[in-house]
């Protein structure tokens, strides 16, 4: 187990800035997930840690060892960084058998023959690939290939394991299985993991902490629940959660009472929220509310907004209702029982404790 410290990391490819002013401390033994849409720079950060890319600026520490610093001219090549890496396309050596693939890191380092064999059998046992040792990668399924890739990364028992979208090339069912498996392996090997993905489900389910990236910058770092419940800006709020958070452009018309004029009509903010906004004196706002906090009722109630069903996605256990309020669209998660009791026209209520308000110009959260 080892910690990783990244300071002021920048990486330019030609004129495009893939990563800028990136600061992060990954704790020892942590399962850290870097989450972001494609092109957000998360893989670039990972490759800088691995040493296959040289950063333009900044430095990276692995444990108490400075592995790269553009300013001090330090660069320790990937061969000497003592880490393991798992790739999206598995990156197995196609001409070698599974045994040769997973023992490659040991053979390159000239480990004695009997130790190579012993370690290979041990790791193959743990990952359930013992029966595959004589096969070639071409004869394996996606899931098997990923296990081989994992075995190769883990055979030296590295204190740091990097994973670059390791589950993206697997089918849905296998992905769910491997999520559990990866967590188990991380605990068993007691290694620090940096895991890159664009899949928020993977991030929320596996990460001890998550770092969310967009356009080369780190937006927010926190535990999954913290990121879900307290998104720092509109990007994080919209990126995390499925279906995404409902967001509406609003103008504060009555400061004292906290009346918002939204696309769909008027909405009166709860007192506690209104007070905070009053202090900040921001007028142009974005109101956000997660689909599970949009309640649907069949009769008009005070504060409720009239809405019409457009479409209902039936997912079995729950339904995603797409509704229209005024000129805006909104989604809500409801149970099948509730749905069957409703007519076409309904009223919706927001859970007042769970609404989010963002400053429209900066996108930053206010409440």
């Amino acid at each position: 187990m080892v910690n990783v410290c990244i300071k002021d990391l920048c990486k330019k490819f030609g004129k495009t800035e893939a990563v800028k002013d990136f600061n992060l401390e990954i704790k020892s033994g942590e399962f850290f997930v870097l989450l972001g849409p494609s092109g957000s720079g998360k893989s670039t950060v990972l490759n800088c840690i691995a040493g296959v890319i040289k950063p333009t600026k900044g430095e990276i520490w692995i444990g108490d060892k400075l592995v790269v610093s553009a300013e001090k001219g330090v660069f320790i090549p990937p061969q000497e960084r003592n880490l393991g890496m798992v790739f999206q396309d598995f990156a197995l050596y196609p001409h070698m058998s599974v045994f040769d693939n997973i023992t490659f890191p040991l053979k390159v380092r000239k480990f004695p023959e009997n130790e190579v064999r012993m370690r290979a059998e041990q790791i193959a046992e743990i990952l359930g690939i013992k029966h595959l040792l004589n096969r070639k990668p071409g004869q394996l399924s996606g899931g098997e290939k990923q296990r081989v890739g994992l075995a190769r990364a883990l055979i030296r028992n590295p204190p740091l394991l990097l994973m670059d979208e390791p589950l993206s090339n697997l089918d849905a069912k296998l992905r769910v299985m491997m999520r559990v498996e990866l967590k188990r392996i991380q605990r068993e090997f007691k290694t620090t993991v940096v895991y890159v993905t664009h899949d928020q489900v993977e991030a929320l389910s596996m990460g001890d902490r998550i770092g969310i990236m967009s356009a080369g910058t780190l937006q927010q770092v926190g535990e999954p629940i913290e990121i879900y419940e307290k998104p720092i800006n509109t990007f994080v709020a919209g990126f995390i959660g499925s279906p995404p958070m409902n967001m509406f452009n609003c103008t504060l018309t009555d400061l004292e009472r906290g009346v918002l004029k939204c696309d769909f009509g008027e909405y009166i903010l709860p007192k506690s929220v209104a007070e905070v906004i009053f202090m900040k004196a921001v007028k142009e706002l974005i109101l956000g509310v997660r689909p599970e906090h949009v309640k649907i009722v069949s009769k008009h109630m005070p504060g409720a907004l009239e809405a019409k069903f457009i479409y209902v996605e039936k997912l079995g256990r729950e339904l995603i209702a797409h509704l229209k309020i005024g000129e805006s669209k909104i989604t809500s998660i409801i149970s099948p029982e509730v749905h069957s009791s409703l007519k076409e026209t309904v009223w919706i209520l927001f859970d007042e404790n769970k609404i989010h308000v963002f400053d429209k110009s900066s996108g930053q959260t206010i409440v």
Binding site: N47, A50, G51, V52, P77, P78, Q79, R81, L83, G84, M85, F87, Q88, D89, F90, A91, L92, Y93, P94, H95, F104, P105, V108, R109, P137, G138, K145, R152
Partner: protein
Amino acid sequence: MLNKTSLMTYAVLTILAFVYLLPFWSVLTTALKSDMEVRMTIPIVPPSNPTMMPLLKAFELMKQGLVNSLLFTSFATLFSSLIGSVNGFILSKVKFKYSNVVFLALSVGIFIPYHAVIIPLITVTSKAGVYNSILGMTIVHTTYGIPICTLFFKNFFDELPESILNAARIDGASDFTIYRRIALPLSWPAFIITGVFQFTSIWNDFLFGVVLTKGSNQPASVVLANLLGTTAAEWNVQMAGTFIYALPVVAVYLLLGKYLIRGYLTGAIKG
């Protein structure tokens, strides 16, 4: 069942194949005829009384030339492919400052016509003491083949996924180990393409052979041409010589043809 269009296609292809094979057929028939019969019949008629004499005579005359050609063609093919492979790997995967400029400069070498360098080549080989020797021919053909071999291998290695190399680096392999244990074994299709290409073009070369060698060091191509001038035109011996001369190239194609096509088609490495 064959429909009308495919029937037409086959008919046209058969006729074309026949036209293309006709010269080769004539070579074979003429090579098996006696001196008398060559003069009395037209080339495409099969020999009435096949004889091995012309083939044996031609072989006797060309023996030394064939050995020479086989030697420098094999070595030059091997060396230029190996050097091209290392170059291609470095230019494609290792890279260094200005590696693109180096590659560009190297590529220019492909377009230098043989004729343009003949006089400097004679001067250089004489000064280096390898004029009129098998070693000289090997060196010249190796050098001349490096640009095209590098191009073949660079294109091949460009298709090799970067992640495999990164995996190897993280696994602790140096660039040399990556080349030897991963790139080299994976590049056999490129070796086949380059090998066949180089073997054919070096074997068929006439110009370098005729200006850089004399007497017993001449390659088969030059010896074959000299068969003509000696006495009266012995067409059967010449055709026999042509047949023998074509054999190694045909053999290489027959032996490696199926890999060649596979090599052309698989740009990427199959997992």
